[in-house]
């Protein structure tokens, strides 16, 4: 009952938000929230730390940008193209990296994403340092004018919700059950007859595709695809968002993304203080709130419940 009520409030809040907050900010946060959720699928539920996720975000951004601006595809196809491209890149990365673990996995994904960065820097269609600018938003399904910020917001919200539901469903699916088993104890999962590499690869591709979807949507919002999207800092940022919010929780990355985007947005006047504050948050998180905001909150709730159960 409370759950349903909560859900209703959440949906209402999400629909009404653009009338109270600046829509572009909300859309940016939603894109990053989706990106972080996709990343979290890998880190939180398979236990793989990828340090190259910017490659998927960026690839999709460029493909969407190019296909909409140069090829004139409508937005829905543009996003589809970007997502598919990211999934493809994810397949290649995953195939090369999946057999490695821990720091080696992180490093090999980093190395591969640096190559994508290099390609983005050199290839003519990406516009190098300038990126692809002034990408038209076009008409969704041919008739919804996305230059209206409110219309666009609802489209972005729909994409986010779709992506988030895919992730939620994946986590709570037979497949997700196997992923959890792999994270918890891979040798045991193997001994039960699971070809764990295949599962990890599917999860990796899924994560890459959804990251790509986030990147494509971001392109649509900002009408811009740039090198920032493929830079390794972006890969680092998504780790930050996920950990800050709480890895391995479904809402954690969303909270983390909103927080980080807000910090960047509202502290933009503070120059280097932004990085100092960001660094400080990292340090405090690792030392004190290792489970992240949502993670710590859930732990607290669990503790209180247990206490109640014991006394009550």
């Amino acid at each position: 009952m409370i759950r349903i009520l909560g859900l209703v409030v959440l949906v209402a809040a999400a629909l009404a938000a653009p009338y109270f907050f600046y829509p572009i900010f909300l859309m940016k946060a939603l894109c990053f929230a989706l990106f972080a959720c996709a990343f979290n699928l890998l880190l939180g539920y398979v236990g793989l730390l990828s340090f190259g996720h910017a490659a998927f975000l960026g690839t999709a951004a460029y493909i969407t940008g190019h296909s909409m601006k140069v090829l004139g595809l409508p937005p829905e196809l543009g996003i589809l193209a970007g997502t598919a491209a990211a999934a493809l890149v994810g397949l290649v990365f995953g195939w090369l990296a999946i057999r490695r673990q821990g720091i080696y996995f992180a490093m090999i994904t980093l190395a591969l994403s640096q190559m994508i960065f290099f390609y983005a820097l050199q290839a003519p269609f990406t516009g190098g340092e300038d990126g692809i600018q002034a990408i038209p938003r076009g008409y969704l399904l041919g008739f919804i004018d996305l230059t209206s910020e409110i219309a666009l917001y609802h489209f972005v919200l729909a994409i986010f919700v779709f992506g988030w539901l895919v992730i939620y469903r994946t986590i709570h699916s037979p497949f997700g059950q196997v992923l959890k088993a792999i994270r918890e104890n891979e040798p045991r999962a193997i001994s039960l007859g699971y070809r764990t590499d295949h599962y990890k690869l599917v999860a990796f591709v899924l994560s890459a595709a959804l990251s790509g979807m986030a990147g494509s949507t971001k392109t649509l919002v900002f009408q811009l695809a740039s090198l920032t999207d493929v830079h390794w800092h972006m890969s680092g940022e998504v780790v930050l968002m996920t950990l800050l919010g709480g890895m391995g929780t479904v809402f954690g990355p969303v909270v983390g993304a909103f927080l980080v985007v807000s910090i960047q947005n509202y502290l933009a006047q503070m120059g280097s203080w932004v990085t100092i504050i960001q660094g400080g948050i990292f340090v405090v998180c690792v030392l004190l709130f290792r489970r992240g905001i949502v993670g710590e909150f859930l732990a607290l709730v669990r503790k209180l419940r247990e206490k109640q159960a014991r006394t009550g």
């Binding site: 516009g127 340092e129 300038d130 990126g131 920032t228 999207d229 120059g271």
Partner: protein
Amino acid sequence: QVSDDVVKIGVLNDQSGTYADLAGPGSTLAAQMAVEDFGGTVLGKKIEVVFADHQNKPDVGSSIVNRWIDAEQVDVVVDVPTSSVALAVQEITNRKGKVHLNSTAATSDLTGKACSPTGVHWTYSTTALANGTGKAIVAQGGKNWFFLTADYAFGHALERDVSKVVKEAGGEVKGVVRHPFPNQDFSSFLLQAQASGAQVIGLANAGADTINSIKQAGEFGITQAGQKLAGLLVFLSDIHSLGLDTAQGLQLTTGFYWDMDDEARAWSKKFAARHNGAMPTMAQAGVYSAVAHYLKAIKEAGTDDGKKVVDKMKELPVKDFFARNASLRADGRMVHDMYLVEVKKPSESKGPWDYYKVLRTISGEEAYGPMSPACSLAKG
């Protein structure tokens, strides 16, 4: 008719990264000073200055500008170094009918294929730099060039523009090496430049890259061996961080030098007093000049509507301590005198910030050339 009863000036630049010293907080100060000197109000409405850090990222920059215009009543975006961000801002301001007064970005595309009826490019451009430094050096006999180019759009544009000038002036380009951006160690590239036997090594890069190239050229005895360095985009703050020992003899083109005459000196000293003693770069002085002219145009036009104000700016004569023999062209280009300067020897310098001697004044027409046919405004 001032929208939202306030004229809000948004200074958007790199507040903490590579370009923070040549524009950064100094540009914000310059805008502030322009507002104060104007009296703080226009058409009876308050003038406000806000600023933000775009971190040299087009996405960060465009999200700030979008917010500024949509939610925070900003009427004009000022400064905007880094070509990629500048182009993004040009696009947004054009679409939303707000003014973009660019001082620090180099790309001549702002008045070329990306020109806009509300976009103004104030201080310099790659074309001016090429015409200034390129032509002058070829004229002095530096006919063979080798380029050290930062491998990104700005570097390519600068290299392309200068090569063209050099060739037109009868020079020759012996080779190009494109280094990754950013880069720390230039010795390898310098050695290639040296091996090419070119008389002039053109540094088509900026900021820390230029500083390190110059520094290391000194270290490897390149200048001693007779090759000449041409800094294609060098700011006063770069020379300050290099020190005269290393930078002496370098020729470069600038749109402004604080010590060029009394008027410039007077303003610059006021600026420096509020800026830890640091003299203004051309970018910062340009911000003041552009903002001052913009406010004047609002007053004359009686509105803060972007298109109308810029039109008025183009009508009004441009003249202050920064802009000499100046006018604002139809394509948004502010055409004014540029200066070819040489960095003084330590023995010639009489004190801190006494760095340049002006070799030659380059007229606006010579520096900026004709309007680009790529710009739609150029025909009218």
